[in-house]
Amino acid sequence: MSIAYILHLADNALVLGHRNSEWTGHGPILEQDIALSNISLDLIGQARNLYQYAATLIGNGATEDTLAYLRDENEYKNCLLVELPNGHWGTTIMRQFLFSAYQHPLYERLSDSNDENLNAIARKSLKEVTYHLRWSSEWVIRLGQGTAESRAKMTDAVNDLWPYTQDLLLHSPEEKEKWQERVQSIFKHASLNIPADVKMISGGFEGKHTSHLVEMLNEMQHLQRTYPGVEW
């Protein structure tokens, strides 16, 4: 597996974990605030494992923290979907679902990988992602079917996020079919439609990001950049 691809997986997990953690303390229901914080923790944990592995391949004193805190946005390889602002709770839920529906078959496949390190990370993460997928699927259905207002909000969320779904799958063609099946099935239960004729936006893997990632990294990397070379 190439270093670039491992960083892609790690950046995906970190950026989404970071975004979800912005909800901690501000969620709509205490139990769900806890659930989303849990998902954040899982994703950041996955990112740490992947960065640690990448760091051993990169050498030159790289660590999980130099990779997370000292790369600029054009070196980040995450898909664009995960860097978008949280929006309302429905958008966050929809994004988590679209992402987990990709991450689940991905880790299933990597659980059989010949790369021992990746294999171990994938096996551990698969258990977590199984829960993320179930939780987010249930919420997509609940909000899709709940009230007229929640349905309208979920429809907006789909429309806002759909243009970024091609970019999500661009470097994981193996997962595409399973992702499509899962999305179709859950959308059917939620009475939501897949938008037609959408202009797709991509470029995350190549480092062509939105300004949202720049803002996010400015905040996240602030201390490491302001006081370089010290221990925290």
Partner: protein, 312 residues
């Protein structure tokens, strides 16, 4: 036959826990609802000042630890709301009281978190003071409250060690980090000392709460214990507590300390602290913006159960 009140007090005296279905004096119930809901609200509002640093935590490990900590606080809020509910009030009612300004929460959370060192200082001092208050509550007379506190105290002492460790790293770091560490201690020390509440002579409920064994030590006893411990721990950090009168007293075997600014304490309690407005605005905003989610969840649950009803 002895009166219900006599039986109740006899149980309390013999250290038998009072359980939800037992008879209890109306004022005992009222006191507990006030205290437990205040405690629950403190956990929930307390998520905000620390949550503020999740996105800026300086390493991935610190970020994960901080998320886990703030999440623990949400969990504590949940157990405590559940404990209060056994006394005949709903979580919604308690949350409404908080948002309407009728219920209080710990004033400590009305101070801002300005630097990363504040996350350490909150863990060491604020959680340290909380533990001092809470450990005796694991033996409080009301069963559900006591049991909730057992779990909470275990997690809190973990948080306290993490906080101290954050400060320890800073205290051994660069000039800027050391200054950050001292500054945070300076700002959090007196508000933490005030967390034990007014002096015993100005604490009107203490005597009754001690008789009911809701409380087991007075505010001043717990405060002294906290100061004694911190005065020693701060030496490990090589930092100073911001109290020129702090001095070991051979005779009392305790540290003497300077006067507490009660004027500031009451100002913050009464809503005029640096962040009172900000905290309530954030809680109310989260609640209002979550309204549609709660309504949708309720509507969906209704649809599911009516479908199940048709099938059944």
């Amino acid at each position: 036959m002895p009166s219900e009140e006599v039986i109740f007090q006899d149980k309390v005296d013999r250290e038998i826990r009072i359980e939800p279905k037992d008879w209890m004096p109306a004022d005992y119930r009222k006191t507990l609802i006030r205290q437990i809901s205040q405690h629950a609200h403190s956990e929930i509002v307390g998520m905000l000042p620390e949550g503020h640093w999740i996105t800026r935590a300086p390493t991935l490990k610190r970020k994960a630890t901080l998320i886990a900590k703030v999440q623990d606080e949400a969990g504590h809020g949940l157990y405590l709301y559940a404990a209060a509910e056994t006394l005949g009030i709903t979580r919604d009612e308690m949350v409404d009281q908080l948002h309407a300004g009728k219920a209080k929460y710990s004033s400590i959370f009305n101070y801002p978190t300005l630097t990363w060192a504040d996350i350490g200082a909150i863990g060491w001092l604020v959680d340290g003071a909380a533990i001092m208050n809470q450990v005796p509550l694991t033996r409080t007379s009301y069963g559900p409250y006591a049991r909730a506190m057992v779990r909470i105290c275990k997690e809190e002492s973990f948080h306290q060690r993490q906080g101290f460790e954050i400060l320890l790293v800073l205290s051994r770091g660069s000039k800027e980090q050391k200054a950050m560490c001292q500054d945070a201690i300076n700002r959090w020390w007196w508000p933490s000392v005030m967390m034990f509440g007014p002096n015993d002579e100005s604490s009107p409920h203490t005597a009754q709460s001690m008789k009911w064994k809701v409380k087991r030590f007075t505010n001043d006893e717990l405060r002294q214990r906290f100061i004694d411990i911190c005065a020693d721990q701060v030496k490990v950090l090589g930092m100073q507590l911001p109290d020129p009168d702090l001095k070991w007293n051979e005779e009392t075997q305790h540290y003497d300390f300077g006067p507490i600014n009660w004027e500031e304490f009451w100002q913050v309690v009464n809503g005029n602290g640096p962040c009172n407005k900000e905290r309530m605005t954030a809680r109310i905003k989260a609640h209002e913006e979550g309204q549609w989610v709660r309504e949708a969840a309720l509507a969906f649950a209704g649809k599911m159960s009516s479908r199940a009803g048709v099938r059944g």
